[in-house]
């Protein structure tokens, strides 16, 4: 019997959890003590009263995703949990950017396509403010287009939300 070889890819995990105090901290603390690196985590209420939905992304290479799923599933408040493939979900992320000037803004606005939506929503001290909504990988694509030092004043990102279809 050989040691388990490790997988390489981005992992999206979807959870339905009881909306009880401490659930988020339990999941976060479990991931910390078992050394699972969280790339992003979002949580919100859902269509079911008392039940929240979470999307956790583990971007680390070489993790045992089934082991993570099994460990998290042991928490009593976790109703169900599933590791999903990108093709099985609709996923969205929101990116907010304050860019240096109109030139940068225009470059990014041109990137708008069917699955990525770049909009100018404001200006702050003459810096354009952009909102980008799109699939996780599209957002990554937009981020790759900008030079953080030269083009960007500030940037924040929402973390991925995903819905299984």
């Amino acid at each position: 019997m050989a040691k388990i070889t490790k997988e390489k890819k981005k992992h999206i995990v979807l959870l339905w959890v009881e909306n009880k105090p401490g659930v988020l901290s339990k999941i976060a603390s479990l991931c910390r003590r078992r050394r699972y690196n969280i790339d992003s985590l979002t949580v919100s209420t859902s269509h079911q009263p008392g039940v929240s939905h979470m999307t956790i992304v583990f971007a680390e290479e070489g993790i045992k995703i089934q082991q993570i799923v099994n460990q998290i599933n042991k928490l009593v408040e976790v109703i169900s949990i599933e590791a999903v493939q990108p093709k099985d979900v609709i996923d969205k992320e929101l990116l907010l950017l304050i860019v240096k000037n109109n030139q940068v803004a225009n470059r990014l606005l041109k990137m708008s396509r069917h699955d990525v939506n770049v909009r100018m929503i404001n200006t702050v001290d003459r810096h354009p403010v952009l909102e980008v909504v799109g699939e996780g990988r599209e957002i990554d694509h937009v981020i790759a287009e900008v030079d953080m030092k030269k083009d960007v004043v500030k940037m924040v990102k929402s973390g991925l939300i995903a819905l299984k279809i």
Binding site: N70, V76, V78
Partner: protein, 563 residues
């Protein structure tokens, strides 16, 4: 009626008969009410760690969750080692800590600690009770979670104002609603088929029996399986006794200090059936080469254990007893005479009786713990309940006593917590007064909970305390000898007069230095109806063998040291 009554009535609904508790400011309303309920016996340990470990001992011999109770702050933090131990070894336990009032919670009030924050990673579930109306439901859930599925400790933190809240009526819920909690029972038929195929075609199978077999009371089913398909059985430390040592297919314990023949069998097997065990690093040795030629069937109730440390060919998720019963219906009758003969050959060459004398000193000068354990085995006809501490004494106790019943060996397995023996023995004796409880402990470990002699004295608990005084923190010294050139840093003990200490607690005690004396005194202890302590002066530099040094494979088990 107040919240405290609600708690006690809920505990009575759960058939609690003993609480291991220690009072403090915020428990007073609860302790006050306890005096109205003589059905519940309250045992005061002398340190809260003793309460948690006694609750552990209580669970191991009864299979019912042990209950401990402490005050907030330091009372609660003193429990931590016992809770962590329960979490590691799958011990059903309900821990109640009282807490400062909700009005001052979060303000660093006197004796306030965030105890649910602290216990969260070492409990199966924990609760902070905001409202007295939730209390019966929480108690019911706590006992259910503690005792079902993979058992574990459940913690309830109870603010003093909730304890004091006026309540008109007590109603205990009938049902439990935990949508996220699933208890696996039987395995999927398809997987059973796969497992059967592997078992039927295996030429060199080994069943590895762990604590899960004891917890799920699967002894009879496992016996049926191994007898029908002639499968040699090897146990983990906590699996000892789940299958009797005397069973002809039983070939000892595996692991770092397991029997060499057991390790060889595992190393050479072509099929490993892990039953209620978790492939811990202390039993696998170097994981990459563990059972390198074997397919693996893993039976466990905890899905997170399957595939955690090793690749599993056929996972059988479920309760050991039910899953083995499924297998028994389908497994073919088979004989593995050659394989069993081979293991017997290894057994004859590396039997423990041939290697227990690994003393560096002259044999006549010192007693040997292994000999004492054999003598206890002989004089109690193998019927004693053995509660070990941690270290060399633990390994010798595991190796040299012949266990024939589940949970006849109580030991801190996953955590390896020194100080376990005395309080766990107390818990076991209180839970089962008829059990013949022997506490086997080192001179280091006894001093970690020596205050519990007070509990033994108070309740006149006829526990037989066998103290092995080698003048060292023996197991650490052994590693220093073998791997650090005998650089004995921080392991030599300056010891007190243990006999005098025991006597100060009104416990009969003797120092034993010769074999003749040892035999006589062990007989005396076996016949004693009172607490008794024997201090054996053992070889300071005796080593526990066999041994698989960390990072080595089971094949590299050291049997005898080159001198």
């Amino acid at each position: 009626m107040i919240g405290a009554d609600i708690l006690i009535k809920s505990l009575l609904k759960e058939k609690v008969d003993v609480i291991f508790g220690y009072p403090g400011g915020v428990t007073i309303p609860l302790h006050d009410k306890l005096s109205n309920y003589p059905q519940i016996r309250h045992i005061l340990p002398r340190h809260e760690q003793g309460a948690a470990l006694a609750a552990d001992g209580y669970y191991r011999v009864t299979g019912r969750p042990g209950v401990c109770l402490t005050t907030s702050g330091p009372g609660a933090t003193n429990l931590i080692t016992g809770i962590a131990n329960a979490h590691m070894d799958s011990i059903g336990m309900v821990i109640i800590t009282c807490q400062v009032a909700t009005a001052v919670a979060g303000t660093d009030a006197f004796q306030e600690v965030d105890i649910t924050g602290i216990t969260q990673p070492i409990t199966k579930q924990n609760y902070f009770v905001d409202d007295v109306k939730d209390l019966p439901r929480i108690v019911k859930e706590a006992f259910y979670l503690a005792s079902t599925g993979r058992p574990g400790p459940v913690h309830i933190d109870l603010p003093v104002d909730v304890l004091k809240a006026e309540v008109v009526k007590f109603t205990y819920p009938k049902n439990i609603n935990l949508p996220g909690y699933k208890v696996p029972t039987t395995a999927e038929p398809k997987q059973i088929q796969e497992a059967i195929k592997l078992i039927n075609k295996s030429a060199r199978p080994v069943a590895l029996v762990g604590h899960g077999v004891t917890i799920s009371r699967a002894t009879a089913e496992v016996k049926k399986l191994i007898e029908k398909a002639e499968i040699p059985v090897i146990t983990t430390l906590l699996g000892m006794g789940a299958i009797s040592d005397k069973h002809p297919l039983h070939f000892g314990m595996l692991g770092m200090h397991g029997m060499a023949y057991a390790n060889y069998a595992v190393h050479n097997a072509d099929l490993i059936i892990g039953i209620g065990m978790r492939f811990d690093d202390r039993i696998t040795g170097k994981i990459d080469e563990f059972a390198r030629e074997a397919n693996v069937i893993h039976i466990d109730i905890d899905p997170a254990e399957i595939g955690k440390n090793t690749i599993v060919d056929v996972p059988l998720l479920g309760d050991c007893r039910q899953v083995i019963a499924q297998l028994n219906k389908k497994v073919a009758k088979k004989s593995h005479r050659e394989w069993v003969k081979k293991i017997k050959g290894w057994h004859n060459k590396t039997r423990l009786s041939k290697i227990k004398h690994e003393g560096r000193m002259q044999e006549s000068k010192h007693l040997m713990t292994a000999d004492i354990v054999c003598e206890i085995d002989k004089q109690t006809e193998g019927k004693a309940t053995i509660v070990t501490d941690v270290g060399q004494n633990q390994m010798w106790a595991a190796q040299h006593f012949s266990y024939s019943k589940p949970e006849q060996l109580l030991s801190s397995g996953g955590l390896g917590a020194m100080g376990y023996s005395l309080p766990a023995a107390i818990g076991a004796k209180i839970a089962k007064p008829k059990a013949d409880v022997w506490s086997l402990v080192g001179d280091g470990g006894i001093q970690m909970n020596i205050q519990e002699l007070g509990t033994i004295m108070e309740h006149k608990l006829p526990i037989k305390i066998m103290l092995f005084n080698n003048g060292y923190l023996g197991m650490v010294r052994q590693w220093q000898e073998l791997f650090y050139d005998k650089n004995y840093v921080a392991t030599k003990l300056a010891n007190p007069d243990f006999v005098a200490i025991a006597k100060a607690y009104n416990i009969e005690a003797y120092r034993v230095t010769t074999t003749t004396q040892a035999k006589k005194m062990i007989r005396k202890a076996a016949e004693s109806k009172k607490p008794i302590l024997l201090e054996f002066m053992t070889g300071p530099e005796d080593n526990v063998l066999p041994m698989v040094p960390t990072g080595n494979t089971l094949r590299q088990t050291i049997i005898k040291r080159n001198k």
